[in-house]
Symmetry: C2
Subunit: 299 residues, 2 copies
């Protein structure tokens, strides 16, 4: 059986879309339920300004508790800058996602930096924290609300200085859910050709119903890890009313049935998604499986 | 550009799930809007007992009007038996979908026939109406709520006497939305190997979020036509709360962006889906695109 790593990013990318603060204890209950299903990789929070994203104000406490409870799992956090990376390191996080947008206008809108400034910041992080693993989260890797479609050659050219400065992987992020399978294949093929030793991850949104098909396209091209959120929690701010993330339980169900070794139990994950829907009723969920009858997964 | 035929089956598979009667004029407005987008193939109704499915009681009138208005399109109907086929022929329909379930227990539950009786009925249709094109709609081709998963060798064995009696195509139907891409590929490969001249169609439900991924898997294996419903209208009776069909506009969007020649305009289809949601507000829709901002398809 072919192994595939599924990284749950709901506690970051899902929760950050909920304006009302979710109490730490409830977050932990959801995280516990997800990890109980067998999930090995989880982005548990982000170290960002609490003014920018108040939902993440408990990042330190949450990280400490999770690292203590789950020393056997790979728990990581998103950081937009050196300051976040330093705080993450100080609480014990050893791998971060460092986010930069392929589109410079989106980079300015999202983290208020030019491309040059983002690259300089990575240099600062790598110099100050040489043992911190940094995954480059390349936002808008397939398209941008301001700049339109992004092509594989732009991805390849952009990566060169990042790859030189030492990144653990590149995570191609379809921030606005605009990619299609042919584009996903082209981008991955181009990155593999130019950087054969660089691990590739994939973060696909389901905005236009292409979450499953794009993620499978990536897996069949050989990406090492794919990201999703429990229940599909999270929305895309540029597409009101639309679903946002791909639901982890739907993805796991498909891959398990196709014969992949995900190490995750679908029914336990569905139970976690139902718990989450109870605790975060204001969330926007796009998963299919947790809405259907118990035991109807036919797994 | 590779051509692919997308057959809209919402006026049959979508409408039949609406218990409240949709007035003929409203049905026609939706059909007009769909065909205005460039759709060439449509299953417009079914010739069934009005006691069993009252929604289809206007099958004759609807067919006559549509055939008169759209002589340039391929309009067809679903029939469960010779009687329906004869009525369809009499009003001018020249192609029907004849439905049989691969699972005999589902065949009994759905159309109250044994497999032997279903085969005999096809013989009657082919004999009485030799010029009527018959597509075999093979329901539960991938799995059955009563009998579980169905395998490719069962499909191949089942098809033999149907292929001998002369069918225009086989339509592999994932009635309960249980198929996965590896299974879709195996089934199509097996049918292609055994019946190399038999056209294969695919009807995938989106119950478990695998509508897009399974349909694309089929297209990339070379199926000639795929079915879907506008807005994803239609539900699966075995999975309450779950979405049913794959949404045509989502499918068309993906294929157009991948460079396929569908001949269909996505934005016109989205407009049709919005009209349908107004006229059939009690419907269960699963499409993504028609819920997002106008002009946000990035096509």
């Amino acid at each position: 059986m072919k192994q595939i790593s599924i990284a749950e990013v709901g506690p970051r990318d899902g929760f950050q879309n909920i304006s009302e603060y979710i109490p730490l204890e409830e977050k932990l209950r959801i995280i516990d339920a997800i990890l109980a299903s067998g999930v090995q990789h989880m982005q548990i929070t982000s170290f960002v300004s609490p003014k920018a994203i108040p939902q993440m104000k408990d990042a330190r406490d949450l990280s400490k508790i999770c690292l203590e409870r789950y020393g056997d799992r790979q728990l990581y956090a998103l950081v937009p800058n050196y300051r976040g990376a330093q705080t993450a390191w100080d609480v014990g996080i050893r791998r971060v996602s460092y986010v930069v947008s392929l589109s410079e206008s989106h980079n300015r809108a999202n983290i208020n930096r030019t491309h040059e400034q983002s690259l300089q910041e990575l240099h600062t992080i790598r110099t100050a924290l040489p043992d911190l693993e940094v995954v480059l989260d390349l936002a808008t890797a397939f398209g941008c609300p301001f700049e339109g479609e992004k092509h594989a050659d732009e991805v390849v050219a952009f990566l060169a200085p990042y790859e030189q400065r030492g990144i653990a992987a590149v995570n191609l992020c379809d921030t606005i859910g605009i990619a299609h399978p042919a584009q996903v294949r082209r981008a991955i093929e181009a990155v593999q050709r130019e950087y054969p030793t660089l691990p590739i991850h994939l973060h696909i949104h389901d905005t236009r119903n292409m979450g499953m098909v794009n993620t499978l396209a990536g897996i069949e091209m050989g990406v090492q890890s794919v990201q999703s959120t429990l229940g599909g929690l999270g929305g895309c701010p540029y597409a009101p009313g639309a679903s946002g993330n791909l639901a982890t339980e739907d993805l796991v169900y498909m891959l398990n049935r196709m014969g992949y070794d995900t190490g995750i139990d679908t029914n336990a994950l569905i139970a976690a998604a139902r718990l989450q829907a109870q605790l975060v009723p204001q969330g926007k969920f796009s998963g299919h499986l947790y809405t259907i009858q118990e035991g109807n997964t036919h797994e």
